[in-house]
Amino acid sequence: MIARRDLAVRVAVRTDLSPTCFRIVVATPEPFAAVPGQFAMVACGEGLDPLLRRAYSIAGVARDGERTLVELMVKEVGRGSSRLRRLAPGAELKLLAPLGNGFTLTAAGGARLALVAGGIGLPPVLFAAERLAAAGAPFDLFLGAATAAELLDVERAAAAAAACGGELVLATDDGSRGEAGFVTAALARRLDEGRRYERALACGPNPMLRALARLARERSLAAELSLEEPMGCGVGVCLGCVVELADGRLVPSCKEGPVFEASRLAARWSA
């Protein structure tokens, strides 16, 4: 594993993925590697506004000649993300990464993984899918969003799933594309049909993660959830991001997470 560093990077590409979401690829001459599920703390804009960095999951890492490209996918929501959106290629950025623990990508020989993403929860899940595809490990990929326009990067997701014969399941709350309803319901239907998974790996909004944790408990499915608590530092020193575990401990999700085994979390996560 590569040590975390505070990298000064430059924007290589900034493209829109949807009316509200966009991709930022930054380039660094430094060696860099990350595990899907790890994240970066990004200084969004010069000066003091916003004051704190924002956490973004790493969506991919690629070598490009002398430099390493690191990909992020961001939804424009507030101060930080709107600053990022306005960056042009060449703009400088500080990025502390890789942080956190990441998903468990190994599976017992031949066993299948279920990768589940909701909305802007896609980046770590897509990163995991592409890593698994490259390794020839089987998985199904479940992508959910409120509406068709918010299903991001579907072609890349399809290619990753296809690489090892996995299914790409799309679901939208409004039924405008793929199956209608929540993506966790789509997963439940597969389980009902008898499909078996070694483990589910998921990232998305809290209600989705809760639904998945419930499903996992009911069906005795192992599940790893990537949580997004508000973060102050991303490195375990502010204690602003703690998550309650089943044993009552409050642990910093930036350090012990952001990925947690669903069964380790306090009961309210699967209540």
Partner: protein, 306 residues
């Protein structure tokens, strides 16, 4: 031009005037890869209580304009775990360590100090009498001069190590509080802790933080902290001060020194940039070199009032 960065807080000599503040640098080792504790003037531990504390429910932090509000609720691993898990490596790195002490009652402060007295490698105690987060907690000590003097005197009697008292900017009378701590035997005063503040989620019609009120830190409070350091320095010019509140740059550090601080602490800036204290040391050195300051101590209290 070579610049002497050594300073001293009372009898305690420091290689440079920049410390990491309590609650923003973990137990001194969490960021050692990015900001080695031994390169700082000192590191102040997260506030330690006799036993581990779980802290407040979430959310605990919220960003504000050039600041943040926290209501962590003094979550900490307890003094025992600190002494066993962090202190040995801090010692072997020869880091200068100040222990930030917190108690829900006078006896708890004494308990923490008593446990630490059994250990080498602790350079000073910093009494947190000002945390605004725990209603049953330290806040009363810091707001009532008589109580504060008594607390300080009891802690004073429990150790021969340097004793710092960290003042609250919310105290009704800052200078009276400062005098009380000195009367109780404090060797130095750290100021300031966070400013009581409120953030509201207008859509939810609720405070953003689960605790409601929290403590404001960061650049937003720097002008208030500087004013308080100067006020206390003017009232008690002989008392060593440690300045804190929104220090982001070497120039900020110089400003606190000029206002009367012998050293500064860096808090929120570490969240923005884990190596901020190292950058600040370098910038302070540059500032001194550029302004003909051969010894950083020349700055201390050097503000010329108009």
């Amino acid at each position: 031009m070579s610049v002497r960065l050594e300073t001293a807080v009372g009898a305690l000599r420091l290689a440079n005037p920049v410390m990491a503040a309590s609650g923003t640098f973990g137990y001194g080792l969490d960021l050692a890869d990015l900001c080695p504790p031994e390169r700082l003037g000192a590191v102040v531990s997260k506030g330690l209580s006799p036993r581990p504390r779980p802290g407040n429910p979430m959310p605990r932090i919220v960003e504000t304009a050039a600041g943040m509000i926290n209501a962590i609720g003094l979550q900490n691993i307890g003094v025992e775990a600190f002494c066993r898990e962090a202190l040995p490596e801090l010692r072997s790195r020869a880091a200068v360590v100040a222990v930030n002490v917190f108690g829900a009652a006078l006896e708890e402060y004494l308990e923490v100090i008593a446990r630490c007295e059994r250990e080498d490698g602790i350079a000073a105690y910093e009494l947190n009498v000002s945390c605004p987060n725990v209603s049953a907690g330290g806040i009363e000590f810091g707001h009532d001069p008589a109580l504060l003097e008594a607390l300080t005197a009891r802690c004073r009697a429990a150790t021969r190590r340097p004793l710092w008292v960290k003042l609250s900017p919310n105290a009704p009378d800052l200078v009276a509080t400062a005098r009380a701590a000195v009367a109780g035997g404090a060797d130095a005063l750290t100021l300031v802790n966070t400013v009581r503040a409120l953030a509201i989620d207008a859509a939810a019609r609720r405070p953003v933080l689960a605790n409601g009120i929290g403590g404001l830190s960061g650049p937003a409070i720097k002008p208030i902290a500087l004013r308080m350091v100067w006020e206390v320095h003017r009232a008690l010019p002989e008392v060593p001060l440690v300045g804190i509140g929104g220090v982001e740059t070497g120039r900020d550090a110089a400003e606190f020194l000029l206002a009367g601080a012998s050293a500064v602490q860096v808090g929120t800036a570490i969240f923005r940039e884990p190596a901020a204290p190292l950058r600040i040391i370098a910038e302070l050195e540059c500032f001194c070199a550029a302004h003909g300051v051969a010894d950083v101590r020349e700055l201390i209290g050097g503000l010329q009032w108009r």
